[in-house]
């Protein structure tokens, strides 16, 4: 890398560094929001899929089948256009003419959360199935109410068993945020495209973007592995 390209990606007067950093921040924010919302959806999804009620189980299966079966990019498009259409329609009904659209950050986060929620549903469900019935019965036998049982026994153990799968899902959520570039969000990929266009140095900027994705992914993976290791002490050997 020569000094000229270094200046281009740096933080100097004609460097893109600051904008890229901001965009990376947006990528991280979108990923964190999508994953967190996905965890909520995954918890609900797993509860549905494990419910004794047939109809509830069916809803859970419908959800995971749908969002694991459609390409993510299509989900994003459907939400982007569908969301604006619905909003515009609602606004017309309320007496506001014109075209309305939801912020692409919100649309994108919801779309990716729905997909990651479908995968997290599976992660939580299979983790729950690994719990030992005896340990749950031991909780009941000492008089735990169902909420105490959930909070003290079921949730911590399920989380522990789901952790490796959740780590993988986090990694893919981080990468999937790149899809938000197609609905106009200036996240890391979109910002790199803008910079490559302006400087005619696509390889440089896409290379930098790749590196930043890798760094973000690997640092978080390291964190997750550390937590896993701490936990595995009790299941150990």
């Amino acid at each position: 890398m020569n000094t000229q390209s270094l200046a281009l990606v740096g933080f100097g007067p004609d460097g893109w560094g600051k904008l890229l950093l901001l965009a990376a921040g947006l990528t991280l924010a979108a990923a964190v929001c999508s994953f967190a919302l996905g965890s909520l959806l995954g918890t609900v999804g797993a509860a549905l899929k494990l419910a004794p009620n047939h109809a509830l189980r069916w809803i859970g299966t419908f959800y995971t089948t749908l969002f694991r079966g459609i390409p993510e990019i299509l989900v994003v498009y459907l939400f982007y256009f569908g969301g604006s259409l619905a909003l515009t329609h609602l606004m017309h009904l309320a007496g506001f003419p014109g075209f309305f659209s939801l912020p692409s950050f919100v649309i994108g986060v919801v779309a990716i959360a729905l997909v990651s929620g479908a995968y997290q549903t599976e992660a939580f469900r299979s983790a729950y199935c690994r719990l030992e019935r005896g340990q749950i019965e031991a909780g009941k036998a000492c008089g735990m109410s169902s909420t105490v049982l959930l909070r003290r026994i079921i949730a911590p153990q399920t989380l522990r068993f789901a952790l490796p799968a959740l780590g993988n899902i986090w990694q893919s959520v981080l990468k999937e945020t790149a899809l938000l570039s197609i609905i106009g969000l200036v996240e890391l990929l979109r910002q790199s495209t803008i910079a490559s266009g302006a400087t005619r140095q696509p390889l440089l900027f896409y290379g930098v973007a790749a590196l930043v994705y890798l760094i973000m992914g690997q640092t978080t993976a390291l964190g997750i592995r550390a937590v896993e290791k701490r936990f595995s002490r009790c299941w150990g050997r």
Binding site: A141, C142, G143, M144, G236
Partner: protein, 268 residues
């Protein structure tokens, strides 16, 4: 969380468990076919019987881990309330059941310690999160209880780091730290290597000699004979015979029981 009322000292010999005509059915299988049993304060009752005779099912009915299909159940003076739904009995009052369970300790064949908690945390869990007792008092009592079963030096270990006998002793500590009025044991030594059985039986002997009320499902005939005040022999989901260990073990009281114990190497 309101703490449960503790230690309302019962009259000596008061009835703590009373089952009348207790039945349990799984589909078409009648596992319990009307069991009557009354256990009094201070009794040590061993429940014997062939595998599949319904011993575990009966014991699990007593703290409602299984819901009986019929009959009446009175635990610590309270009639358990059931409700019928599509022809099956269900627990009517979960709070009642939880309250009673906190006063009825249970020790399982497979220990069933919580694998994400240390030994000490396992023992402190119930008093703090079920009974709402003070953490510092509980810690003190938990340590004393662990010392009693000889496990205080393993307080910071996780269950997976212990032998079966050690795990079972912790499980017993976990049960008695709740200050239960009755203790239920479901084959507490059956999952143990032979050389580890003794350490668990010793703890149980100590508990019995303290005058604790215990119902024990076991295949340890010598233990049952020496420690029990009463033997209850189940066969095909009914009480086939019961009486003092002296009467039953000398033979000739019930031919089915005699045949049953002849399968075990001479007790004692």
């Amino acid at each position: 969380m309101e703490p449960f009322p503790q230690e309302t000292a019962p009259l000596p010999g008061a009835t703590v468990i009373k089952a009348v005509g207790l039945t349990k059915r799984y589909g078409v299988l009648d596992v319990l076919q009307g069991i009557d049993l009354e256990a009094h304060e201070g009794e040590v009752i061993s429940i014997l019987g062939a595998s599949g005779s319904g011993k575990s099912t009966f014991l699990r009915c007593l703290n409602l881990l299984e819901v009986p299909s019929g009959g009446a159940l009175n635990i610590l003076g309270e009639d358990i309330r059931f409700r019928l739904k599509r022809g099956e009995q269900h627990i009517a009052d979960a709070r009642q059941v939880n309250r009673l369970r906190s006063q009825v300790g249970m020790v399982f064949q497979n220990f069933c310690l919580w694998s994400h908690r240390t030994v000490l945390q396992n023992v402190m869990e119930g008093p703090i999160h079920v009974q709402g007792r003070n953490r510092y008092e509980v810690r003190d009592e938990a340590e004393k209880t662990l010392a009693r079963v000889g496990m205080l030096n393993r307080a910071e270990y996780y269950p997976s780091q212990l032998s079966g006998g050690q795990q079972q002793r912790v499980a017993i500590a976990r049960a008695i730290v709740m200050r239960p009025r009755v203790l239920l044991f479901d084959e507490p030594t059956s999952a143990l290597d032979p050389e580890l059985v003794g350490e668990v039986l010793k703890v149980m002997r100590d508990l019995a000699s303290e005058g604790r009320t215990m119902l024990i499902v076991t295949h340890e005939m010598a233990f049952a004979r020496d420690v029990s005040s009463r033997i209850v022999f189940l066969e095909k989901g009914t009480v086939r015979a019961q009486g003092s260990p002296q009467d039953l073990f000398k033979g000739g009281m019930d031919e089915s029981f005699d045949r049953f114990i002849s399968h075990f190497s001479r007790p004692g």
